[in-house]
Symmetry: C2
């Protein structure tokens, strides 16, 4: 056989290998969990995924070797997190393409409860998502601070708004300031990129919102309601 083979694209092997990292349901479970942007221990992920610790250990080694995860050893714990923003974006992009019909809806009450908290507000890697993320994105757009019609970019007024709000934007890196991230529960784009990260970081630091328990869901505080109302004209009702 073969011989007739012409010039296989040299990227194919790497592409298949990269996709292969995500092409396992247990690893996919881990990557989606890590989308909260925080570090998990190997044991937490093993329990979360429902497999033996030994099994998960090997999965983590592959994901780290493949560059999707970064690890940090602390004593007898192995902490892993998504390697960087581009890794997070990759998982997001793939997850966003998954046909909505392919996701099974949660069944138990407890899951439904957690689900509705997540739908209200959560972090998506390092930016805000859920109705909260959408509300912020919509408000920025309505006020002419963010353009969505011709792409996805901050306007000059948007740059001034961040400056006036005292939210520092890191414009040195290669990371784009504004980027669209498709919201899983809302099925609409919300603000990601360096600006989205800065805004989320500020919101958590300033107490505009706090994490619920140990998950990625967040709740808007009274302080946060006032700030979002003053700075962006977001009504409290939208966030409930």
């Amino acid at each position: 056989m073969l011989e007739g083979m012409t010039t296989r694209d040299p990227r194919a092997a790497g592409l298949a290998r990269l996709a292969g990292l995500i092409a396992d349901e247990t690893r996919a479970v881990c990557l989606l969990a890590l989308l909260d942007g925080r570090a998990w221990t190997a044991g937490e992920l093993a329990r979360h995924a429902g497999v033996a610790a030994s099994t998960l250990s090997e999965h983590l080694s592959r994901l780290v070797a493949g560059g999707l995860l970064a690890e940090e050893r602390q004593g007898r714990h192995r902490y892993v997190r998504l390697a960087d923003a581009t890794a997070a974006q990759l998982v997001e992009d793939l997850a966003a393409r998954v046909a909505p019909g392919d996701v099974r809806r949660p069944r138990t009450l407890r899951q439904a409860g957690a689900g509705s908290a997540m739908a209200r507000g959560r972090t998506c890697y390092d930016h805000l998502a859920g109705r909260l993320g959408i509300a912020v994105t919509d408000a920025l757009t309505a006020r002419g601070l963010l353009r969505q019609d011709t792409g996805f970019a901050l306007t000059d007024a948007g740059l001034r708004w961040f400056d006036a709000a005292g939210i520092a934007l890191d414009r040195r890196g290669r990371r784009p300031l504004a980027r669209a991230c498709l919201d899983w529960t809302e099925r609409r784009p919300h603000l990601a990129g360096a600006a989205g990260a800065a805004l989320c970081g500020h919101a958590l630091r300033a107490g505009w919102c706090v994490r619920i328990g140990s998950g990625r869901a967040v709740r808007v505080t009274d302080t946060g309601e006032r700030a979002l109302s003053e700075l962006l004209g977001i009504g409290a009702a939208v966030l409930r």
Copy 2:
């Protein structure tokens, strides 16, 4: 075992299945080849990938069933193409993340020749790439028609430029007008999205550039050099 399993993310199975479609080198070869945006027959792809027709037939069925490819039967031929722009973007995004060290450089003279033609100018799904794509993107940016510093979006002046050049933009669909696509050979972003597609389509229709043979490489014509110089101030030397 198990029992301890908590709430696996319902998207995990779909995510793994989707990634699994790309996680095979032969299928990856096909997807990368199809990034030229045109339709290939099953036989062409089999020869290109260097596998038996029967093997490739099954691969195509899986890719079609998974929604990444669209097929069209004509007589005894089975034509396939990327299902839509989002499928193309998915493959691009994944390929862009492949570590540059992972791609082996071409070796033979013939491959090197094809490579340099590809590096000069080519189509990337439905927009321009290679030095040509970069030159156009840079020129649009330098003239204030495209913003890259705060995201990736056309400016109002950019909208007027397309209008004045007689290039119709389809703004009805959900597809973003401007989007960044990481150029494989240049390692820098070039213009994709509805505007990139419109520009590329116009360039081919107006004879600004023509396809070289049956591949995805394109060559800029004399007409094209004049047009690009007049409309965007692109010097001919850049395109060589």
